[in-house]
Symmetry: D2
Subunit: 331 residues, 4 copies
């Protein structure tokens, strides 16, 4: 698979490193709004810098990975679909439902493989939890608890352009919830506060949130967000059912334990998503390649992006209006 990478920023670099190591995917080209960034990254991995237009026109390129800034996602996705290329698009497709739906219509008219970058579905630990759930290990799933806390809050100006906590950060948890609940979410209740950084509040956003999702059959899901966990990237899931409980625990660099003053001490969790989800990013590329090779469905697709965004919309309305919001209200 000859793949072109669009976007040579932080997440683009992560993907470039992964693809460079991949035995079956070649990093055919790299584009970036800031051309020197594309050139530097291409030099590093023996690829070449190209314009997005040239990439779309190049028939030898099979696939594109869209890792540019959020406002460009939908445009590039549409161009790639029209060019008949397989697509792996970083989340979100767009920050609003209308633009997202337009992109989905283009995809419908130009049916190509389209995967969405919900990397957590590819995390080995979460995958194992999902497999256990599907195998009936805990019987009927009844409640789900997702703890998702970033190590440090983003700068206020990032926050202002982010679409808000629910669209920027919780969006991952909404997708995880949908994936694991395996049933339509019907109601959303969200509460939130600004407790960490007043600048985030000034930007009209929150930094601490608790969300309750309810599904058609009455399953309940709790999402627990914070923009700052001083001890690292706190990423845990607890699934509770009629026959038991599954818990995905945090991971640390080592399992070294010291016992003495001040107690029995192990390392704090891995600090950031690049470390915590390093394997997930590799599996994401594997899954995209597999879907392309076998003309199969990727683990997370464009419709999942729309569905997660609808939950974010509902959460935002719930927070604003102080009430439980039915998904039927979100259009």
């Amino acid at each position: 698979m000859k793949l072109a990478l669009i976007g040579a920023g932080r997440i683009g670099k992560v993907h470039a490193a992964t693809i460079a190591d991949h035995p079956e995917v070649a990093l055919a080209a790299i584009a970036d709004f800031h051309h020197p960034a594309a050139e530097a990254l291409a030099a590093q991995y023996g690829s070449r810098a190209m314009d997005v237009e040239a990439i779309m026109d190049d028939e030898t390129i099979d696939a594109v990975l869209i890792a540019s800034s959020t406002p460009t996602h939908a445009d590039y996705l549409e161009q790639a679909a029209r060019a008949g290329k397989a697509i792996l698009c970083e989340k979100p497709i767009a920050l609003d439902l209308t633009r997202t739906r337009e992109a989905l219509q283009v995809l419908e008219a130009n049916p190509v493989i389209c995967a969405l970058g919900f990397n957590r579905r590819h995390d080995p630990q979460f995958s194992a939890l999902k497999a256990s759930l599907d195998a009936g290990r805990i019987g009927a799933l009844e409640t789900l608890t997702i703890i998702s806390r970033d190590p440090a809050p983003p700068p206020s100006d990032y926050v202002a352009a982010s679409g808000g906590l629910f669209r920027d950060m919780t969006i991952h948890d909404f997708d995880t919830a949908r994936w694991l609940l395996d049933e339509a979410v019907t109601h959303v209740y969200a509460s939130g506060s600004c407790l960490i950084d007043p600048g985030i509040g000034d930007a009209g956003d929150i930094d601490t949130a608790m969300i309750t999702l309810t599904t058609a059959s009455g399953r309940l899901c709790h999402i627990n967000n914070s923009r700052r966990a001083c001890y690292g990237y706190d990423q845990r899931i607890e699934a509770f059912g009629s026959a038991g409980m599954l818990q995905a625990q945090n991971e640390s660099e080592t399992r070294l334990r010291f016992t003495g003053e001040p107690g029995q001490v192990e390392e704090t969790p891995k600090w950031f998503f690049l470390e915590r989800y390093a394997t997930a990013f590799r599996h994401e590329i594997d899954d995209f390649f597999r879907a392309w090779r076998d003309d199969d469905t990727p683990l997370a697709g464009a419709q999942d992006g729309l569905a997660a965004l609808m939950l974010a919309e509902a959460a935002e309305r719930s927070l604003r209006e102080g009430r439980c919001v039915a998904l039927t209200e979100i259009h």
Copy 2:
């Protein structure tokens, strides 16, 4: 301290055993609606069976422990207050706010030491968590998560008379939340389902719930309830703040670990509240004795009972009306 026990049922027996071992509290008398039960228990611990009226009239008796059936709590509490006895009353004072408030007025008119049986405040692990919070170990508290799951659901007829999940079971968690949040709760949102036992649904109740509490300054608290955790009594607390996190974990009988097929296996949590909170019940009596001896405030008092019941009322209304309820709405 000469103490009379009212109620020789399950919880009464637990208290009798604790008091019989206590170096400074004497089990002076035992009363029960079913007199032979009182006689049997009195025989076991070298105490004597008496009527409630006789207990109230006996000036040598310093204190009463009200562990009879819930509908009798408020009456006995009022009688004991008028008789000038120190009181340790099992929760709840009553299942409705009006009756609870009447009892509190009698207490106000007859000021005696009055402790309420919120045993979890006396659990060594939760006490240690509270002490760490108070010592500033995690900086400013931001969110609190309380997992509270019973090992097995009660019979449906118990449910029918229980006042519902929030008044019967979550009431403990409401108290724990108030105690740890250390700030007024202003809003309650509750969602719930009947996923375990249809009989509970037929009795008009739920068996699975998630509740979100919000405090005046924006702290958030999640309560996670189930009437049935097949692996035992699941009692955990997670407090998250600006400088870290505290987690009270489940306790097991032993720390024995087997490694082999099917994995690394340790015991499930202790099965029921009598085992899990055995130490808490002893500390509860210690605290009551201390308050009586020093004419001091017990760790949990009658006002805490009223406050927890108000949260239960708010939760019930929230569940019924599908919206967030302000505490100012509860009268």
Copy 3:
């Protein structure tokens, strides 16, 4: 069972408290070389102080618990056997083999129930490990590892009279090894150093040791001793076999975990044997009572005391001579 306690020192007080709480064993009398100590303890538990001779002569007394100083154990044991009383004797019977064997001959001539105070066999966690072993959980046992470290070294003058590390401290581990290996130990190799307290070395003893036991069929056992573990009483066992591994882990007061600076921190292990083995002391009395009531064998008897002492002798010779010692050399 009417039981008389001989010895009102530290361990005597532990036993007195346990017996006072026991529903089926009455603390009929207490003796101590220092009579006021016996009187004080008797007053505390509503018992009476008596001379040892009077106890032996009192036909209403069924059993004696010998918890006096080590040099008196064998004499009291012989007197009690001749008086036909059931005996629970603190370890060791004597510090040398000759005296121990004499006492065993008296027991043979006067067959009474005789239990030895190897309290660890009664620890719930070690009992559970033993039960798992016996149930074949790990298949054939191949190796055993016993970590046994005291929190703080004893005073040098205690050391001088103690009979040395192997007789005083490792004796418990020798018994644990015999109990779990379930097979005759044939060879002993011991190495040891004085690394903690030079005063212990001056007294001719060691404070740090590693011992290897080999059984008839080739099972291997490692014992790991230190007189000082700064983090508490370190008591662990690991049994390894063809189908898996069992590990008895240390216990802490609480399972509270803090995550933040400097890591994920839990409490250190319980500090001393009174805390760690509180339940074991209760079960030891239970087992003694059961053996007396049913005329049955106690879990640890006088022969176990002799056998453990022979291992200590072999270890000492091994250390002195720098070679592996066969049990056949010990007479």
Copy 4:
């Protein structure tokens, strides 16, 4: 650094994959006694197959990695030294002391960078333990415990040519012990049994062993070996000292925990050394490159190979003669 790999077998393939990914080391050539194996591996990584002689003669090649069969190590090492190439040699240099010493003399006469493949020194968890030790985290080191168990025994014919358990398997633990004890080992005692596979016994070897090392100052070290741990690759280290304890625990693929029947279950340890030490192999190459680039000492060198082999010799003599062996006896 242009590096040639000698040996395209199991461990050779591991190194080839690591080097192919390395940004600063080029896989310049691959040799194997079985030439097609070298060709296949060279094709996979874009390298070329060469004879050993040609490699030694090629002045553009900076370094060789000797990963061929054990009997060839010393010869290749000498050739490489004479050719002035930096050397990374898999352990052992040879199975006997004489041949090892000869090779060391050639190295002395031809001083090149020579690293030895004691991969465990490069494991992140063991490195962290070593760093903590060096930083004084546990004060003065007093005892060390090394648990090292393979998941499954090798075939009997492998055993026959392996040099025996101590030279083949324990050699790693001897090196780890030397590295961490940071002091000369003066005495060795070894006991061993054949409990797992009678074929191993028939080949004159043991499959289960316990070894005690004593250092000059009296530090004690216990090594615990088994050729078969049914639950995976069991690799743990415990360092105990005056100010605490450090424990390197086993690692599992995930931290997923199931709670229900039959308990609280986590995954067994990683199954084999390729998984457990994947990172260690990368760091080993990093360290070798660093030493070559900076003309510095590698973390483990040829002298370390000799020293570990001397401990293996001492252990073997101890086992054979049933006594403690002084290192001064080993020539």
